[in-house]
Each structure stands twice: as structure tokens, then as C-alpha cells.
Symmetry: C2
């Protein structure tokens, strides 16, 4: 039985949404996991009471008296609040009392706490967020989705390895194609870091490197050299594009609704709206730490929390964490 710790105090509407998400996950997903709601027990119990009849045999509550606010400085918050839901929830994995952690709270604090408490795999310089972009074809993993706003070439090469293992284990791509986000496909394009990364990736042994790709290639899921499964970029660019994409989907859905009010109830239009709604997608895993950590949007609704639970279970089942360790241990991942 997989044990998934869920930060009950994290999101903009905590603990309401987190508790609802946990209840949804327990009701709708295959029963391969149990959920550990981490936070203020009294608040969690009060919210659970409002959920109606509930089988609590796969639901635990783990007390964590402190809460890290969205505006708090990550490292300071993690160090000064050892009793926060983030620190306690990740601490469970360290004690082998849990297999995964999910939070819609302060992203920086989750990253800092995961790096401090779980530590990084040997050979990994920094953890990165793997954001799966929905496309018309297959989801494409953009890494880093926002963990690191300044990256050097070695870190970007690391991201290529982390993303490849994730695409293999969780998305079922046997030989994931990796592109490096750039302003053009030619060798000489890009800033100094990206040019250096391009050369390192061309020489990397265990990455199926397709070369430079452009912003338009992400949603195409392909470039001239093949199918794209993973796109590598620094967290500044990845975060900007990720947030931009969410807003584009929302804008398009609104335009469609106002242009065609009579067709919005059709099932094929509902499917389209579902595709365009980022809240349908679960959180993004933080890769590179020794463990499983998933970061959700602060504004995540309950369905997104449920999706994150499903992804967390997949990550544990597929041995992603061990496979990342093995990838870096055998030196294939060192540029």
C-alpha cells in the first residue's frame, strides 16, 4: 500500500480543497494508496466532517501545528518552522513512514524543504520541476518549470536526464526525445549557457538528444529530428511559458464560450474545455530529490489535488526515484 502525504494547509483554499481532493481520490482512484493528511488536526477534522459519509480506513491525519504562508521567504520559513505541514510531511519520507508528498503551498518552501530533508541524488546539482504540457498529441515534459531561475549548462544537462527518466517511467516513453529550448535550431543560436548545453547534450550518452527546439515545437510535440517528449530550459523561461499556457487555454475557452454559447453543452466541446482547463492536470513533480514530491498550484481545485495523488502513486509504483538514482549513479548523467 503506497502512503501519500498531502499537505492539508498548503493551497489558497486550504484545508477545504485539500480535504476535498483527498476524499475524491479515495473515492475515485484505484485503491492502491492511503492518504496522510498533514496539518492542524482540528482544522482537518472539522473540514472532514463536512464531507458526508466517508470510509476512513485509508485516511490518516498527521499533526503539524505550523503553517508556511505563501509570502514567506522559503529558506527562512523552512528553518524557523520545523513543525510546518511541509517539513512534517516531507519528514515522514525521511523516516520511511511515507512514500510521497504533495503540496499546493509555498513552492519555494517545498523545494527548499525537499532539498534539505530528502537531499539530492548523488550527481544532481539542483532539483527541477517537471511540468507536463498537454498537447494535441501527447503530453510534453518541460523541465525546469520554475524551480531554478538561473541555471548553468551542467544543471540543464541534469534536467535532460531527470526528464528522460520521468518520461520513461511515468509517461511510458521507451526512448524519450529531448529538445533544448532555444531561439532557433542552428548550433550557433542562443545565449552562452544554452550554446554550451547544446554541445554537452550532443555528447551525452544516455539522452536521446534531438537538438535545439523552438517555442512552437513544444505543442507540436515534434521537430524535424523526431518526436519531442522532453523540453529542457531554465526555470525562468519554463515558469513564464507554463503560466502563459494556462492563461491562453482559459482565454480561448472564454472566447469560445462567448462566440458559440449554443454548442458548449455538446460532449466534444466539453472535452475541449476539459483539455483547456489546467485545473484538470495534477501537480508537477520535483525531480532530483531522494524521494517523491509533487508541487501543485496554490489555486488548485480539488480535482487537481486528486490528479496529483494519481501521479504520485504512478511515481512510486514505477520506481522513478530509484531509477533516477541509478541513472546518475552509473555516470551516464554526468556531462
Amino acid at each position: 500500500m503506497i502512503r501519500i502525504a498531502l499537505d492539508a494547509m498548503g493551497g489558497d483554499n486550504a484545508p477545504q480543497v485539500e480535504v476535498e481532493g483527498a476524499v475524491l481520490a479515495l473515492r475515485e482512484l484505484p485503491p492502491t494508496f492511503r492518504i496522510q493528511l498533514v496539518g492542524r488536526t482540528a482544522d482537518i477534522e472539522a473540514t472532514l466532517k463536512k464531507q458526508g459519509e466517508l470510509d476512513r480506513s485509508r485516511l490518516d491525519i498527521v499533526e503539524a501545528p505550523q503553517v508556511v504562508g505563501m509570502g514567506e521567504k522559503p529558506l527562512a520559513a523552512v528553518k524557523s518552522k520545523p513543525g510546518s505541514s511541509i517539513a512534517v510531511g516531507l519528514g515522514l519520507q525521511k523516516k520511511h513512514a511515507s512514500d510521497a508528498f504533495i503540496s499546493a503551498g509555498n513552492t519555494g518552501a517545498v523545494m527548499a524543504a525537499a532539498t534539505l530533508l530528502l537531499r539530492l541524488h548523488h550527481g544532481v546539482q539542483r532539483a527541477a520541476i517537471a511540468a507536463a504540457f498537454p498537447t494535441a498529441a501527447h503530453p510534453v515534459v518541460v523541465i525546469d518549470g520554475g524551480a531554478n531561475v538561473d541555471c548553468d549548462a551542467r544543471e540543464l544537462v541534469n534536467f535532460a536526464h531527470l526528464g528522460s527518466v520521468y518520461a520513461r517511467d511515468v509517461l511510458g516513453r521507451p526512448e524519450p526525445g529531448v529538445g533544448l529550448l532555444n531561439v532557433g535550431e542552428e548550433d550557433e543560436k542562443g545565449n552562452a549557457v544554452v550554446k554550451e548545453t547544446h554541445q554537452l547534450l550532443k555528447a551525452a550518452r544516455s539522452v536521446h538528444y534531438l537538438g535545439n527546439v523552438e517555442g512552437r515545437d513544444i505543442l507540436a510535440g515534434a521537430c524535424k529530428r523526431g518526436r519531442i517528449d522532453v523540453v529542457v530550459c531554465d526555470g525562468f523561461v519554463g515558469n513564464a511559458i507554463l503560466k502563459f499556457y494556462e492563461s491562453a487555454g482559459r482565454m480561448f475557452a472564454e472566447m469560445l464560450q462567448s462566440a458559440l454559447p449554443d454548442v458548449v453543452t455538446r460532449p466534444e466541446v466539453k472535452r475541449l474545455f476539459k483539455f483547456l482547463d489546467y485545473s484538470e492536470y495534477g501537480g508537477a513533480p520535483l525531480l532530483g530529490v531522494r524521494g517523491v514530491a509533487i508541487i501543485c498550484h496554490g489555486a488548485s481545485p480539488a480535482r487537481a489535488i486528486m490528479s496529483a495523488v494519481r501521479v504520485a502513486a504512478q511515481m512510486v509504483q514505477s520506481n522513478l526515484n530509484q531509477d533516477i538514482g541509478a541513472e546518475f549513479a552509473r555516470g551516464g548523467a554526468v556531462a
Copy 2:
């Protein structure tokens, strides 16, 4: 009469598309301008012959025997080909024989030639591409859209000034709101360059600075502090988001077409498709040079060339170039 030089040899389908775009512009836009088609006269004449009956009273041909290829290294190409359509076309402005230049050719070569031949306004470190993003509300100018892949804080501050004058003169925004693209709105967010830029912009006198904005705020056209008219970022990020957006519009249009084949002929759906089709939008101006230069996509269709002609005429009519010179001359633009 405004004189607009059009690089006839530039785009992926030159000179066919450029000639068609010129003919469309002469037929459909208000007759405030004449067009100077720059390139190999024989090729241009042969293509013109295929356009049917045509009043050539506002159409000139300017011979330029050389062509810069899409794959050529910009600076080397500009220096080794003084007879290229890019160098000749921009040279006309230097000789006061033209008021604007449009090219769908090698972007880097146009930038290099514009900077070398026209020179930069005093106080401007580097020219930048101002890309107008269509949104549900009002177009938002993203600057830099791809001219500079590495920027320091002073350059980003320059872009804020350039974008503000453009939004005032060409988009008719009396007091343009400027946001700095970042991964979050708080002061401490971002990489070192962006943090420094944020502080400089807070102190800038002639910029209506709204603070840090996120990827999602671009299409919203607004943040908590007000309406966004201009978003400042380096050209690496700007280029990635610009190309991503084009592809998102294309993907949405294709999904809509396949989900609702029976409604695509409705006028409100046609309007939606038109909105999503980047080819409807003209090129992006290169701001900061002493003159008017517009860069179009290599794949621009004739309608995009026509749109670029309209924008070029607006830029000349509004005295944008002089106003940028004045903004930097009075020191308001120096951080």
C-alpha cells in the same frame, strides 16, 4: 507621401509573397504611402506580371543584386553583401530616400544591418523587437521579442522606455502600464538581472511601472496594479513565448475545427479563427534604431506583409522615431 521599402527577397517564399503583399497593400490600404520593392529587378518584374492589372503609380523597384540567406551568419552576411536587399533597403533611409523598411528575411541580418546603417538613438544600448500579442482585451507589447538573447538590467530598462513610446504613439495608449516579466510578483523574485531591473524601474521617472508580472498576466492584459500595455523581458524568453503563442493559437484552431466541423463557417467562428491566426498580424518593429524597421516572420503570407505595411505607415505618421529620440535625449530613459 510615406515611402516604405519592402525587402522583396526576404521571406521563405520570396519574392512571390512580398510582391503579393505589396499589391494587396496598394489595393486595400488608404493611399498614404508608396512602396519600394527592393531586390532583383528581373525577379520582381516577373512576379509582378503574374498579378494581373495593376496601377503602378505608387510602386517603385529598387535594384539590389544580392540576397542574404536565412541560414547565413548575420554580421558576416551584412558586411560581405553590401548589395543585398537588406542593406540596400535600409540604405535608402540613411540617404533620406525612404521612411521605413520591412523584411521577412534573416532576422539577425536585418537587426545587424539596421544597427550598423541606421545607428542607435543616443542612450540606447541595443535595439529590441516589439511584438504585439493579441489578447481578448487589447494588444500587449512584449519587448524584447527576440533581438537580444542576453540582456543586462540597463538594457531591460531601455526596453521599458522603447515599449512605452511605441504603445503611446502606435497603439494610442496615453499612459502605458509597464510590467517586468518574472516568476512571481514579489520584490525578491527572479534572477539577478531581473531583480536589479525591478529596482531600476521602480525609480524610473518616465515609465508607468506596474511591477513584476507573470506569464499569465500577458494575455489578461492586467495585473493587480492596473492595465498592462507593455511587458519587458529578454529576447530569449520573449522569443520562446511569442513562438509558443503562435503554435497554441494554431493548435486551438485545429482542435476546434475537428471538434465542431459544422460551425466553422459561422461568422463568429471565422472571427475567432482570424484572431488565432498569427499570419493576420503584421511584423514586429525593431525599436531603438534611428529609423523605422519592421521584421516579419519568414513564413509570412501576403496578408501579414500588408499588415506590416500598415504598421510601418503608422510608425512614420506618429513620429515614433523622433519621439524615441526625444525620450532618450531628455535623459528620462537613462536608468
